[in-house]
Symmetry: C2
Subunit: 266 residues, 2 copies
């Protein structure tokens, strides 16, 4: 196992170029050639040619006559036009299936879409009575487990910015009414790692969902299971939430990982 290090062939100059990209992207200040050269441990001229190549392609940019580098718009464009939800579905589907089958309940995968949560994938269990939740359906962020999991990292200010000052629409008697209450719940979700839905959007259903995070910590989606309250009892929360969290963690690793992703599939 330990012997298996570095058997993956890799292209030196491409690798260096990617290091430059990541360095510039994580720096708050423009990065100078000298810094790049030192970082890579190569000559200034080499760093220069790498950086120029990235600039030619629009991945780096040198603003207003300056010599130091900031990110160019190519990364912006690529990232924006790419269909990330599709990517997420592809990576997560196996896990989603395993979750649904393990608990024998419907499992959903969701992402944030403006002020709503959008279900982008689901696996149904072998039950006659299931919680529908079609793929493609939009539901409010503040009144569903998935939605709240997606909001987990927002603070007061960000929540207000997102929802404005209008009162929150009430769907059931348990729907959260105010932003402060929502903010408090977000804290809880961050701490314990999962969100619940006590029939807050639809009567008679319970749901647990956990945020999916990249290794950088940012939330990119949510995964969870839903079932009629008659079958999904409150005492199931501990065990169910545990599995949902594990599943979210696994997907996060699949997304972030690169090397490892190959190993475990073998």
């Amino acid at each position: 196992m330990a012997k298996k290090v570095a058997q993956v062939p890799f292209i030196q100059s491409l690798d260096r170029g990617l290091t430059i990209l990541q360095t510039v992207a994580t720096s708050t200040q423009p990065v100078t050639l000298g810094e790049l050269s030192e970082l890579l441990g190569v000559d200034r001229s080499s760093a220069f040619r790498l950086a120029q190549t990235l600039r030619r392609r629009g991945f780096l940019s040198t603003p207003a006559g300056r010599k130091d580098y900031i990110l160019g718009s190519a990364m912006w464009t690529l990232s924006r036009q790419y269909d990330w939800s599709n990517m997420l579905v592809r990576v997560a589907h196996q896990e989603l299936k395993a979750l649904a089958q393990g608990l024998n309940e419907t499992a959903h995968l969701a992402i944030r879409e403006g002020r709503n949560a959008l279900f982008i994938d689901s696996v149904h269990a072998r039950h006659v009575i299931v919680v529908a939740g079609q793929t493609g359906e939009l539901v409010p962020l503040y009144s569903t487990a998935h939605g709240k999991a997606l909001l987990a990292d927002l603070d007061d200010k960000e929540l207000r910015n997102l929802f404005g000052s209008d009162p929150l629409q009430k769907f059931t008697k348990t729907t959260i009414k105010t932003l402060p209450a929502l903010s408090k719940e977000c804290v809880t979700i961050r701490e314990r790692g999962y969100a619940v839905d006590e029939a807050e959007y639809m009567e008679g259903t319970r749901c647990v969902a956990a945020p999916i995070r990249l290794n950088s910590g940012i939330i990119v989606g949510s995964i969870g299971i839903s079932a009629p309250s008659s079958r999904f009892l409150k005492e199931h929360y501990p065990s169910h939430s545990k599995r949902v969290i594990q599943c979210a963690k696994k997907i996060g690793e699949l997304l972030s990982a690169s090397e490892e992703a190959a190993e475990q599939s073998a």
Copy 2:
């Protein structure tokens, strides 16, 4: 001038790697090794090693035992954590200044931030009476020229998703009241290229703003000028909007360009 082609040294393998990234990012389907090899005009093995390098770093990913490539999360992470507004300010500031001085009025630079427009930079003109609009200020998207410029590409559905069904808050007697009206205005903005604010947010001020687009077309910010209605008259719209549009175009080119950016700074 024409002789100056290709004098910029560039690193072949890095350049090829970037081509792979762009190809994968713009493809709706996962991309196979064969396709990459053909695209680059190199041997399968070469394409393989390039792709592996990108995968090792998390820029590409191979979902669930598949062999074909999709984008990895590295790009997602980098793009999300990067402070794009800062980048925009750096690139656009010169132009913003030129615009403000050219028309001798206050010029603003804004981006979208949830349901608001956020002013990220401004240059004031030499007037005693100016429109304040501090950098850092949040204003509603639907009742300001900047906001509407930022919304220009949204359709009915997207607008509803963003604002929900709550009625729009009224600030002045000219504030837009309904989403259909807003949607119609978006069409106009797309067609003529600029948005106006007829004292829709604050009494006694006029404003013209144009969306800043990357070469891919996506709107990343807005630029415009504001002034008291007493000085900024309706008859100024044609000339002012023309200059604002030109300025937005210029900034879009600066953002998208790479080669050219170097030439004009020389």
